[in-house]
């Protein structure tokens, strides 16, 4: 089955069109990356799918269902988003415990105490963080809370906007391993925005490359091994990322 399907998607803010003619399908269980220039519309595509950028035309389907233009609460149990900005996305006066147990409460799920505890451990946060507020956490600790919150409802599809770019490499490794394991065990589908091509290489099957509001190329992640890209923008992005000394190993 197709988990996410975009057909001729245009998204605007006011009079400015920021995404034009986006088309791609993400298969169920696939991990698909969205990379490209800063400001090219990557977050906007995720927001449109999640119902947070209402001014769009074209077609968006998730798990076979056509999406409307607003937030849909039943949709939340199947599809969750992790936002690029962990500061803005956590409520300043809710403790970590509240943030993680509320989705369970809203959807009438039990065994909350244990689930919260397990999820904190899964994202590498000690139990002493459970009753803290966002301002008492470091940047990376907040981002892990945001990821944990998205996972609480065991969604089938995850929209991940730069989920690990605020994290140091050791925590990033833990989160990426966790996401990979969940995908393997529960068949999750990921649509992940990242600017880090090595992360794509580790995590994803395919990637779409965006430049100035348009998708300029869709390529298998294996193209990162040999640089076999066709679009000039992708080639320049790849070349710039090739400065990574690890490549010479």
């Amino acid at each position: 089955m197709i988990a996410i399907s975009l057909k001729n998607l245009d998204v605007s803010y006011g009079t400015t069109k920021v995404v034009e003619g986006a088309n791609f399908d993400v298969a169920e269980g696939e991990s698909f990356a969205l990379v490209g220039e800063s400001g090219s519309g990557k977050s906007t595509i995720l927001k449109a799918i999640a119902g947070l950028a209402p001014d769009w035309t074209g077609e968006i389907s998730v798990l076979g269902e056509r999406r409307g233009h607003g937030v849909d609460h039943a949709f939340a149990t199947r599809c969750q988003m992790v936002f690029q900005d962990p500061y803005g996305s956590l409520h300043p006066r809710k403790s970590v415990d509240q943030v993680l147990s509320e989705p369970l409460k809203i959807h009438g799920l039990g065994n909350r105490d244990q689930r919260v505890e397990e999820m904190l451990a899964a994202v590498g946060l000690d139990r002493r963080f459970r009753y803290r507020y966002p301002h008492q956490l470091s940047g990376g600790q907040r981002q892990r809370v945001a990821i944990a919150r998205a996972l609480m409802l065991e969604p089938k599809v995850m929209l991940l906007d730069e989920p690990t770019s605020a994290l140091d490499v050791s925590v990033q490794a833990e989160i990426l391993n966790l996401l990979k394991k969940l995908r393997r065990e529960q068949g999750l589908t990921y649509l992940m925005v990242t600017h880090n091509l090595p992360v794509v290489s580790f995590m994803c099957d395919r990637m779409a490359v965006m430049n100035k509001g348009r998708i300029v190329e869709i390529a298998p992640a294996s193209a990162l091994h040999d640089g076999s890209f066709s679009d000039p923008y992708t080639q320049s992005l790849y070349a710039a990322s090739g400065g990574n000394p690890d490549r010479k190993d």
Partner: protein, 283 residues
């Protein structure tokens, strides 16, 4: 580098401690950190929660209560920062010492346009005619590789993308031409090519104007490329300090662990190695 010609260091930090109260009493999240900085580029790397941001904030005396900071010495260009009045400290912040915060959008004023905010940062530093302010603002946005600066100056913070927010913050902090820049994860939302352009701009100010730079980042390759010296922090302490060029020869097991956890362009590993956190401390 320009550090040869400086006699006294630009920044002299001795035995810095930052603590927070916990149910088990006060716990230090920065535990006696010391370093001196010339007009050079110092990188601070280390795990999430190791105290990097708190170190940066403490230099500017920006630790919020109930946190408490304390040091044997914080001298900036010969000025004892710990004994300055709050007013004098405010004058110094932004003008002579700037900090690019880790949470750019959070640090921007949500009800003021991007253009007005950068103009304000410039005006606190220099008296300029209105038209001159406007062109300096546009020039600065252009310098941080913002496409279409004419449109961007009219936007509010929630209307810019993650990477644009970071670059706007950088523009705002560089426009007063500070003597010391503390940059906390300044480019974590940028792809490598834009990142390189923005860091080259910062680098230019270090070389041409003798600005001192403290670059806090979790990106080991980036600090290796853009800094002269690197401190590796772990649980509030410096566990390794080396010349940037030698980072890949680092010996501390913790630093080695960090290096191994970086994904590679031609990744074939199924799982990335992780660090053992069982020895962790902190608040």
């Amino acid at each position: 580098m320009t550090s040869e010609k400086t006699q006294a260091p630009l920044l002299d930090l001795q035995n810095l401690r930052v603590s927070f109260p916990t149910p088990k009493g006060r716990v230090d999240v920065v535990k006696g950190l010391s370093f001196t900085l010339g007009r050079e580029r110092l990188g601070i790397v280390g795990e999430s929660g190791s105290g990097k941001s708190m170190t940066g904030r403490a230099i500017l005396r920006l630790i919020r209560r109930p946190g408490v900071q304390q040091a044997d010495r914080i001298l900036f260009d010969g000025i004892d920062l710990q004994s300055l009045s709050e007013r004098k400290m405010r004058d110094l912040r932004g003008a002579r010492i700037s900090m690019i915060m880790q949470d750019p959008k959070f640090s921007l004023n949500p009800v003021m346009t991007i253009g007005d905010q950068i103009a304000e940062a410039l005006k606190t530093h220099e008296r300029l005619a209105r038209s001159a302010v406007k062109s300096r603002v546009l020039e600065m946005l252009h310098a941080v590789r913002i496409n279409d600066p004419e449109r961007v100056v009219t936007l509010y913070p929630h209307e810019v993308s993650g990477g644009m927010g970071q670059r706007i913050m950088i523009a705002m902090m560089l426009i007063p031409r500070p003597d010391l820049l503390i940059a906390d994860e300044p480019t974590s939302a940028l792809d490598v090519s834009v990142q390189a352009q923005v860091l080259d701009l910062i680098d230019e100010l270090v070389r041409e104007k003798g600005m001192g730079l403290i670059l806090i980042s979790h990106d080991l390759n980036l600090v290796a490329r853009y800094c002269d010296r690197i401190l590796v922090m772990h649980a509030g302490q410096v566990v390794e300090s080396c010349a940037a060029a030698d980072l890949h020869k680092a010996t501390h097991p913790y630093t080695r662990g960090l290096l191994a956890a970086v994904p590679r362009m031609e990744e074939t590993r199924d799982e990335l190695p992780v660090l053992d956190r069982s020895t962790w401390s902190g608040t």
